[in-house]
Amino acid sequence: MKAKNIEESFFKILMIISAFIVVGSFFLIVGTIVVKGAPAMSWDLITKVPSGGFFLGGEGGVLNAIIGSFYIAAGSSLLALFISLPVVIYINAYLPKRSWLGNLTRMGYDVLFGIPSIVYGAFGFTLMMYLGMRASLLGGIIAVTLLVIPIMIRTMDEVIRTVPNELYEATFSLGATRLETAWVILKQVAPGIMTAILLAFGRGIGDVASVMFTAGFSDNIPTSMQDPTATLPLAIFNQLSSPYEDVRSKAYASALILTIFVLIISVLARMLSKRFSKNKV
C-alpha cells in the first residue's frame, strides 16, 4: 500500500514537472521575444518596407516580409487544400478499408511528414532550376505547399477516420453516391478540416528552410508571382546575423510580429473548431 502511494506521488510529480516544462518554455520564449523586441517595435517596422541598407541599420521596416510571408502561407495553404482534400476523400470514401492503395498513400504521407523542410526547399529549388524559374513568390508557394501537404492530409485523414462507418451506411442507404456521401462526411468533420488548414498555414508562415532558396528575398512587396519575395523568418535570420545591436533587436521585434501571427492563428483555429462543433450535428 505504502509502495503504491510512493509510486503514485512519484509519477504525479514527474507529470507536473513535464507540464511545467511545456508551459514554462512557452512563457520563456514569448517573454524573451517581448522583452527584447518590444523596445524596437515601431509603427515604421510594420508599415514600411526596408530602405537601403536596412540590415546595416538603415531606415524602414519589414512590411515586405510580413506581406510576403502572408502571401506564401495563404497561397500554399490554399493550393495544398486543393490537393489534400481529394486525396483524403479518395482514400476514405472511395477506397475500401485497408486497401493496399490506401495503405500505400498513408505510408507515403507519413514518410513525407518526417522529411525536414530544407529537403523540400532543395527539391523545390531543383524543380525550379529544371523549369528555368528564378527565386520567386510562385517558387516559394510551391515549396511550402509540398511541405504542408503531408501535415494537412494527415490531420484531415485522422479526423475523417473517426467518422463512424454507420454514417457512411446511413447516406449510402439513402441512395447517395460516394461523392454525395463524401460531402456529408466533410460537413461532419468541418472543424477538423478548418484546424488542418490553419495548422498548415501556421507551419507555412514560420518555415525558413523551404523558402530560403525558392522565394529568395526582396526589399519590395511582390507584385507578381515571378517576383522574389521576402519572408518573416528569413528577415529575422538576416537581422539576427547583423553586426549592429539595434538591427538585432529589430529581429526580436520581427519575431514578435511572427509570434503574434501564429498565436492569432492558433486562437482562431480553436475558436472556429468550437463554433463548428456547436453547430455540428
Binding site: P96, K97, E166, A170, F172, S173, V184, K280
Partner: protein, 254 residues
C-alpha cells in the same frame, strides 16, 4: 412456405469474411408488406444478412458474397446493377441513430434533394408529411432549422426513420433499431413499424424475442450463419419445429 408474394428472395447466399464462412447457403423469401424478423444470438449473422440486402458490404474488401438476392425478381448482385437505385428502395435504421450533420429539415430533405427534388414547396410538404408519419412533427415543428443532434436519441431514431421514408423506399431494414432506446421510444418505434407495414415491407433484426413477437408476422431463427427455421412468428416462438430453435426460444442457447 410463404403464402404471400415474396418481395425479396434470397437464394443460396453464401458470404465469407476472409476465410470465415459467415453466412451459409441462405435461402429465404421475404414476404411483401409484412414484417419479417431475424432473431438469433449475437454474432450469428443476422445483421450481416440484413446488410447483404442492400449491398452495404460492397466497400469491405474482405467480404465475398455468392448467390442471389432477388428484389422484385431482379438479382441485385448481377453485373451492371445500379447500386444507388437499389439502396434508394430500402430505408435503413441502424442500431444507434446517425443523423446527418445538418438541420432537422435538411435531414429529411437530403434524400429527395440528392434524387433531384428542388421545389421548395414540395420539400416543405415532404418534410412535414414524413415527420408526421413518424409522429415527430409536433415535437419539432418550431425548430426545423435546429441541428438534428440536439434531439434526444429516441427522437433522432424517429428522424432517421423519416429520413429513410423520404426517399420513398419499398422496404425498411431495421438493424436492432431500438437497442439504444429507452422503453417509451422503443414502443413508439414498434408502433410505427406496425403502421408502416401497410405500405412497406419491413425486415427487422432483433435480439428481443418479445419484440419479434409484438411486431413481426414472420420470423427467421439464424444460428451460426444458417437459417435454422423460418415460420410465422407465433408458430416459430411458441411451437418451433427444430430443436435448436426450441433451445434458443427457451433461453438455453445464447
Amino acid at each position: 412456405m410463404t403464402p404471400v408474394q415474396p418481395h425479396i428472395s434470397v437464394q443460396n447466399l453464401n458470404l465469407y469474411y476472409g476465410a470465415n464462412h459467415a453466412l451459409k447457403n441462405i435461402s429465404i423469401d421475404i414476404p411483401d408488406k409484412k414484417v419479417t424478423s431475424f432473431i438469433g444470438p449475437s454474432g450469428c449473422g443476422k445483421t450481416t444478412l440484413l446488410k447483404t440486402l442492400n449491398r452495404l458490404h460492397d466497400s469491405s474488401l474482405e467480404v465475398r458474397v455468392e448467390g442471389k438476392v432477388l428484389l422484385d425478381g431482379e438479382d441485385i448482385y448481377a453485373k451492371g446493377v445500379d447500386v444507388t437505385a437499389i439502396r434508394k428502395k430500402m430505408g435503413l435504421l441502424s442500431q444507434r441513430p446517425f443523423p446527418l450533420p445538418m438541420s432537422i429539415y435538411d435531414n429529411i430533405a437530403y434524400g429527395p434533394r440528392i434524387h433531384g427534388e428542388k421545389d421548395k414547396h414540395k420539400l416543405d410538404h415532404m418534410v412535414e408529411q414524413y415527420l408526421k408519419d413518424v409522429a415527430l412533427w409536433d415535437e419539432v415543428k418550431d425548430r426545423l432549422k435546429a441541428p438534428a443532434s440536439r434531439l434526444s436519441i429516441g427522437q433522432q431514431q424517429r428522424l432517421c426513420l423519416a429520413r429513410g421514408l423520404a426517399v420513398e423506399p419499398e422496404i425498411i431494414l431495421g438493424d436492432e433499431p431500438t437497442s439504444a432506446l429507452d422503453p417509451v421510444s422503443t414502443q413508439k418505434i414498434e408502433e410505427l413499424f406496425l403502421q408502416l407495414k401497410e405500405k412497406y415491407t419491413i425486415v427487422l433484426v432483433t435480439h428481443i424475442l418479445r419484440q419479434a413477437r409484438r411486431v413481426s408476422d414472420y420470423c427467421a431463427f439464424i444460428y451460426m450463419g444458417e437459417i435454422i427455421e423460418f415460420a410465422p412468428t407465433e408458430q416459430l416462438l411458441l411451437d418451433p419445429k427444430e430443436k435448436l430453435t426450441k433451445d434458443y426460444v427457451r433461453g438455453f442457447l445464447s
